[in-house]
């Protein structure tokens, strides 16, 4: 299984868009750093993220959400993880694709 990380804002770079287009069914996407803006409820990309959640698991790094003041504005169903959760995801998946 593959872990995809996205660390760029979806409003500035197409990293999340490409990731959503290319992530295989059953894989996990972890939003980190400015990538956590992809977890924002009600944004212009939220529908696409929500649609993808049928086939992939979407997670977001809690400390990065909190830093940006959006911890309480996350799309329902996105799993919020801490740094230990990030490590666990890296270990559980045999490959990591970082969408920079």
């Amino acid at each position: 299984m593959m872990l995809h990380t996205v660390n760029k804002s979806p409003f500035e770079k197409n990293s999340l868009n490409s990731c959503l287009n290319c992530a295989a069914e059953g894989s996990t996407i972890l939003l980190i750093e400015d990538g956590v803006y992809g977890a924002l409820k009600g944004s212009s990309i939220a529908d696409k993220v929500q649609a993808a959640m049928g086939k992939v698991t979407v997670c977001a790094l809690g400390p990065d959400l909190a830093a940006r003041g959006i911890a309480d504005k996350v799309i329902d169903g996105i799993k919020v993880v801490d740094y230990a959760g990030f490590v666990a995801l890296s270990v559980e998946n045999d490959k990591v694709q970082a969408w920079l």
Binding site: S9, E33, Y37, S44, A46, A67, R68, G69, A71
Partner: protein, 135 residues
């Protein structure tokens, strides 16, 4: 002195992911220290710089967002925010920190510094400046 110029600082980057937001703030404070007519514009991901409730303990970064709330004391009283950028991100003005100043011409009444503008107003705003600094 008559060498006061109109400065517009255009902030288009999210905080923390890159250094732009913090660097802009440093230069804003320098502009204010030299008693220039300083205005800030937050558009695109720059609107996230003034998002309410930022808590950076978990990422061990300095939370510089409270500094924006102090800019009123430096006579920076106009903080323009792009309506289109808020809309694209599912945000409203209620998701932003309250930014205020005390109006010396109105018995020091506390007033909001935030002015929501559309793209046409941003175009006009840029046209009327002497200096535009981009971050």
């Amino acid at each position: 002195m008559s060498d006061t110029k109109k400065f517009l600082y255009v902030n288009r980057k999210a905080p923390y992911g890159t250094i732009y937001a913090l660097e802009s703030l440093e230069v804003v404070l320098i502009g204010a220290a030299f008693e220039q007519d300083v205005q800030l514009l937050f558009m695109d991901d720059g609107v996230f710089q003034i998002a309410k409730g930022q808590d950076t303990k978990g990422i061990e970064n300095k939370n510089f967002s409270p500094t924006y709330t102090a800019l009123g004391d430096y006579e920076i009283t106009k903080m323009y925010v792009s309506q289109e950028s808020l809309d694209e991100r599912g945000l409203t003005i209620d998701d932003l920190m309250p930014l205020t100043y005390e109006d010396e011409d109105d018995d020091w009444a506390e007033k909001s510094s935030i002015i929501v503008v559309n793209n046409a107003e941003i175009a006009a705003l840029m046209e009327e400046q002497d200096v535009v600094l981009s971050f």
